[in-house]
Symmetry: C2
Subunit: 249 residues, 2 copies
């Protein structure tokens, strides 16, 4: 049973200005919520689920305290869901905080995203980073918010395994002194001719404008996916996947 | 100036059951519409645009007849647009028909999509095919519709250059007798160890279920993108981009 203030609270979490002061985010659907419940980095705040889902997941939920679980009717789930088709469970998790931490164990490669605007692209890039074993995705402060509902859904659970932080790109590069930096940009070295790398920073630019000039001009290595056909560009997430598949060791 | 019947007609084109009998589709925004106007495969039916856009594009529109161009106010564009933020111009184009044609000049590789559900993924895959010089994307009849507004937008203009058709996957493979067929599936040969190919059919499966078993079991070559990290899967469009970047000659 949901009270009005809970509905209002969850709806407010659709906006970054309400989400961030609370330090939480929303994830939905059985698959995503089940995966995030297993992450040591994401403490659960509250879980809203229909009876059927709660019964199937009784064992998994045994360690939670009863005030963390709210049984809702489908009609109630519809009122709080951010999905076009609400799907059994909505969970509010605490945002992990990784800012300023050094690279953790895993790949020595990090992604630096310059002004990625689409939350779906951002979430997909985090999922790609996870697939290739990267531990760290750094976003310029003007990038989309990874705790946006659509971004969270697009990570498909990788938000619980990859450190996503926000920092000035130039400052991040300076902090990682000595690490090679690769800018994906037109007219660079073909990724097909490069050796794989075990460490470094790969910079991905905005969906339509690429990497901003003030940043691009600071980076000596430019790398490119050779084009065979006629499309003007590739989607930013697709380009990230292709680059990592050729370079990540 | 728009009359009510025009508004109703364009809105109806949001649904495949109204779109297909008319044999048309909708594209929006200055960049996409400008690009599609250049395609020899896509005759324009009608273009609805705000005054500013019409003035800037006066020369480009000189070959069109006056009944193909309708000047609209921003408030009218909002009533017919399928975008969250309407963007200066909406155009109705005739659907190209390529079904059953042999591969045209260009890459000897075609993509075969088995039950791709998300229109954004489908459009992005068509854009990727275009980037790698492919001429042909064949979709199983239960795949998303490439003339869906979101799919069209995601192609970023490649819908005017790549032949997208719908056909039973097994029938398509049979028609291309002798061409090697590669199924992207778990546990296949690593794409990193394969030679590039100049001809063949690459099969991409459904976003969550992969290639259906009845089709997969008919295909001897299975290929895989090796996973380094922990994400359970890659987005279908991202996987397509990675596979083509390693295999397409």
């Amino acid at each position: 049973m949901l009270v009005k203030s809970q509905v209002k609270y969850i709806q407010s979490l659709g906006q970054k200005k309400f989400r961030d002061p609370e330090g939480v985010f929303v994830a939905e659907g059985p698959k995503l919520v089940s995966e995030l419940l297993m992450s040591p980095h994401l403490p659960l705040v509250t879980l809203y689920a229909v009876k059927d889902w709660l019964e199937i997941n009784r064992e998994r939920l045994a360690t939670l305290s009863s005030h963390q679980i709210v049984e809702v009717r489908n009609s109630e789930l519809e009122r709080i869901s951010f999905l076009a088709t609400p799907n059994q469970v909505l969970a509010v998790f605490r945002q992990p905080s990784f800012t300023g931490l050094p690279l953790k164990q895993g790949s020595g490669i990090s992604l630096l995203l310059d002004n990625i605007q689409d939350p779906g692209n951002l979430g997909t890039i985090v999922r790609i980073a996870d697939w290739f074993g990267l531990r760290c995705v750094v976003c310029s402060p003007d990038s989309a918010d990874v705790f946006n509902a659509k971004a969270v859904q697009s990570t498909m659970g990788s938000i619980g395994r990859v450190q996503v932080s926000y920092e000035d790109p130039a400052a991040y590069i300076d902090r990682q002194k000595g690490l090679p930096v690769y800018a994906t940009a037109l007219g660079g070295t073909s990724i097909y001719t490069m050796e794989r790398i075990s460490r470094g920073i790969i910079v991905i630019g905005n969906e339509s404008k690429g990497i901003r000039e003030s940043l691009l001009s600071r980076i000596p290595h430019h790398i490119t996916i050779p084009r065979i056909g006629e499309a003007e560009s590739l989607n930013a997430a697709v380009a990230t996947g292709i680059v990592l598949s050729h370079l990540a060791l």
